[in-house]
């Protein structure tokens, strides 16, 4: 009877899965969608050049990736988390609670954050102060803190056209958001002098708490719809700009360089973003990219260390490698990172 056969095969499959669950031979990676293209380029070349299977790379954002990374040690947890920001103390604590103690931090290079608008629209030359004035929740007008009154870019800076402000910025689960807040909004807050006003009005027990409160007040963004959080990927930001020609979006440099037919990039403090200007530090809005390795998995899951070494090798992550070609700004101190990987130096071991 076929029913019996079907039941038997079902049981067989269950048995196979129970035995095979013990063996995983490919590296599992998850995390930042900014690091994803680089990780997939490396994973592909790794699969081609080594006898190990191609690693699996998932995206979902730095925070989501680190959360999964910190879930514990074992074959059903990921081996490597990609992040477009450094791991936080809070996350390290969560990791430690779940038994993930020895973590190797690998800096792969730098990524530029660019501001781009529709290719046929107006050209912009921004400074951090412009972005602060355009997007902050509260700004100082005539010595008083008021809800941000700016409606068009001309309100922000008379040199700009009277184009309505419509910004598409990364959502809070993206590492890019933090860099945007710190390197653009906070810098703008300080440059305009609003920081002092907010510090004066900040509540807190001591200087440090006050400063923190003022920083938080600076980085609070307006919620009246002129600044839109994009929780998806840069493709979504691009789609928003294509449907709303007044929009200005925040992108990674590599994404912009692949879409130069649709986007034009704005300068920041007079510098055009490029791998060169970011490497020299002239272009101010950039951040390091990382991945984190669970040391406990090295030797258990085959290929982790080889993958990490391959990733930071001069052939790939160097200034002439394929990663730089795609848009990664290579780290001048790559040799140091290579040493960290070779020695499996964990965070806190004072290399």
């Amino acid at each position: 009877m076929s029913f019996v056969k079907l039941t038997a095969s079902t049981l067989a499959i269950a048995a196979v899965s129970a035995t095979a669950a013990a063996a995983r031979d490919q590296v599992q990676i998850a995390g930042s969608s900014t690091v994803l293209p680089y990780a997939s380029i490396v994973a592909e070349a790794f699969g081609e050049n080594f006898d190990f299977p191609t690693p699996v790379v998932e995206s979902g954002g730095s925070s989501a990736g680190l959360k999964r990374f910190c879930e514990g040690v074992g074959e059903n947890t990921i081996d490597i988390a990609n992040a477009s920001r450094q791991i936080k103390d809070k996350e390290l604590a969560t990791c430690a609670e779940n038994g993930v103690t020895d973590i190797i931090e690998v800096k792969i290079g730098y990524d530029g954050i660019v501001f781009a608008s529709d290719v046929n629209g107006a050209t912009f030359e921004f400074t951090p102060a412009d972005w602060y004035k355009a997007l902050a929740a509260e700004v100082v007008v005539d010595g008083k803190l008021v809800a941000n009154p700016a409606k068009t870019w001309a309100d922000v800076n008379p040199a700009f056209p009277a184009q309505p402000i419509q910004a598409f910025i990364p959502g809070t689960k993206h590492g890019t958001r933090e860099v945007f807040e710190e390197k653009v909004i906070l810098a703008g807050c300080e440059a305009t002098g609003d920081f002092e006003a907010k510090l004066a009005g900040a509540a807190g027990d001591d200087e440090k708490a006050k400063k923190k409160a003022a920083e938080k007040a600076c980085m609070a963004l307006r919620t009246d719809g002129l600044s839109v959080d994009i929780d998806g990927d840069y493709t979504e930001t691009l789609a928003r700009i294509e449907s709303n020609k007044d929009g200005i979006g925040v992108f990674g440099l590599a994404f912009y360089e692949n879409n130069t037919d649709k986007l034009q990039v704005a300068t920041m403090s007079g510098v055009v973003p490029s791998t060169e200007s970011i490497a020299t530090g002239e272009y101010p809005v950039s951040r390091p990219l990382y991945f984190y390795i669970k040391k406990a998995h090295i030797g258990v899951i085959p290929g982790i260390k080889e993958y990490a070494e391959f990733f930071v090798s001069d052939e790939l992550a160097g200034p002439d490698g394929p990663l730089a070609e795609y848009g990664l700004v290579s780290d001048p101190e790559l040799a140091k990172t290579q040493a960290i990987v070779a020695d499996e130096a964990v965070i806190g071991s004072n290399m």
Partner: protein
């Protein structure tokens, strides 16, 4: 009342009004259908217009000299030594071969060999290396190869990339496009059907031209296999018991209501359940089609149970009564008489359930089947079930969010393939129903 002449031939005001209302309603109906059809046509035209290009790809034919001094310095053809030459070591061979092809085609160009070879796909070196590793005896000879061209070159031949659009593009410049034009004339570069799109594996962000949907198709296939093997027997057994054997009491009522509720649960919920139960508790491998299949089984079960029960209900009681009256046991009555008559309905429901599961993406997000999973095509059933893989809708989603616009075209191409599968499955369901369903 005396002058009120009523005739069947002339309509009075009330009849006119009623007829007008009916005519209006018909018009609304036609308009609704018209809108529906227009939407469908719009959808199909968009999908075909954007996606057909993905089935064609630009190829470059080169004669590559497999130089022994580059590939096998020791000259002993030892596979271990050959493997030490990475794909980067093959780049000079490609450059030399491309330069030769340009010279043979009598094309004048001021481009350096490096910029010429940049027109090739980044996958070319890997293809060449795989060939050499598989055929070490060919080292030292000159072999004709057909490589993929870079996605920008491909886009240029397809009209996606134009001389205007590359103004700020650092990946290709006008001089390279001039070279492409001349090589197309010389027959070195040509656009033709690309089976690798249907059969191949995913590729990284730098080489959209090499990406294919084949491996994720295999992933979808293995998931459907799991769904079929699990959901069909479980679903049919549950429905037969509920319909034919179970006493009608409050327990079966609760079960019935909950099965209907389960059918309405959003699929992402099953994904979370799958992550918690199959991966975290049962320690099944991540990203495996087996887990995807189990999750989709949970999702498909209610659909199969509901349609099976409807099919069983539609078999008239007289058939059961006749079988029982002739002395058959209840099980014999069900398996010999009721089930065969209900089979077409059950199959239809199963196929529709499978089609639904085939197009499902959301639960796969949570069990790690969406991402860069460039595995090779699985070698067997066990590997197909357990090694990491993606699924067709997941692959389409993944392509749609990548930076290079060439992936966008592939996403549309993937949609075409997925639609072909869905339409085929639904057509089979309709045919089965038409052919074998009996009405009483």
């Amino acid at each position: 009342m005396t002058d009120a002449t009523t005739s069947l031939l002339t309509q009075d005001a009330r009849t006119k009004k009623r007829n007008a209302a009916e005519a209006r309603f018909k018009l609304y109906g036609i308009a609704a259908i018209g809108i529906g059809v227009a939407m469908l046509i719009l959808l199909l035209v968009t999908i075909l217009g954007n996606g057909v290009g993905a089935f064609q790809q630009t190829f470059v034919t080169l004669h590559v000299e497999l130089q022994e001094k580059k590939l096998d310095k020791k000259g002993n053809r030892d596979p271990e030594d050959l493997k030490k030459v990475t794909t980067f070591g093959y780049d000079p061979l490609m450059k030399a071969a491309f330069d030769k092809a340009v010279k043979e085609a009598n094309v004048e160009t001021k481009l350096k060999p490096k910029d010429q070879a940049a027109l090739l796909s980044k996958s070319a070196a890997a293809d060449l290396r795989n060939y050499v590793l598989a055929n070490p005896e060919h080292i030292g000879k000159t072999i004709e190869f057909t490589f993929l061209a870079n996605s920008r070159v491909d886009g240029y031949l397809k009209g996606r990339v134009t001389r205007e659009s590359i103004a700020n593009d650092k990946n290709i410049n006008a001089a390279q496009l001039d070279l492409v034009d001349q090589l197309v004339k010389a027959g070195v570069i040509e656009k033709r059907f690309n089976p690798a799109f249907i059969l191949g594996a995913d590729a990284s962000d730098q080489r959209p031209e090499a990406a294919g949907i084949g491996v994720s198709m295999a992933g979808s296939f293995f998931m459907m296999l799991v769904v079929l093997v699990l959901a069909l027997p479980i679903g049919v057994a549950a429905s037969i018991y509920l319909e034919e054997f179970a006493p009608k009491n409050w327990i079966t009522d609760i079960i019935e209501v909950n099965i209907s509720n389960l059918a309405a649960v959003p699929s992402i919920v099953f994904g979370i359940l799958g992550l918690a139960v199959f991966i975290n508790t049962m320690h099944l491998p991540q990203s495996a089609p087996l887990v995807g299949g189990l999750v989709l089984t949970l999702m498909t079960l209610p659909t199969i149970i509901i349609s099976t029960r409807a099919a069983l209900k539609s078999v008239p009681p007289s058939i059961r009564d006749a079988a029982l009256g002739l002395g058959a046991s209840r099980m014999q009555a069900v398996f010999h008489h009721v089930l065969p008559l209900a089979a077409p309905g059950i199959l239809t429901g199963t196929i529709i359930g499978l089609a639904q599961a085939l197009g499902e993406t959301a639960p796969l997000l949570l069990i790690g089947m969406i991402g860069f999973i460039a595995s090779n095509a699985p070698g067997g059933v066990a590997e197909g079930l357990l090694s990491p893989n993606s699924a067709m809708p997941a692959q389409i989603y993944e392509w749609a969010k990548r930076a290079d616009p060439a992936f966008y075209e592939r996403a549309w191409g993937g949609i075409i393939i997925l639609l072909v599968f869905l339409v085929t499955m639904n057509t089979i369901a309709v045919i089965l129903r038409r052919r074998f369903e009996r009405r009483w």
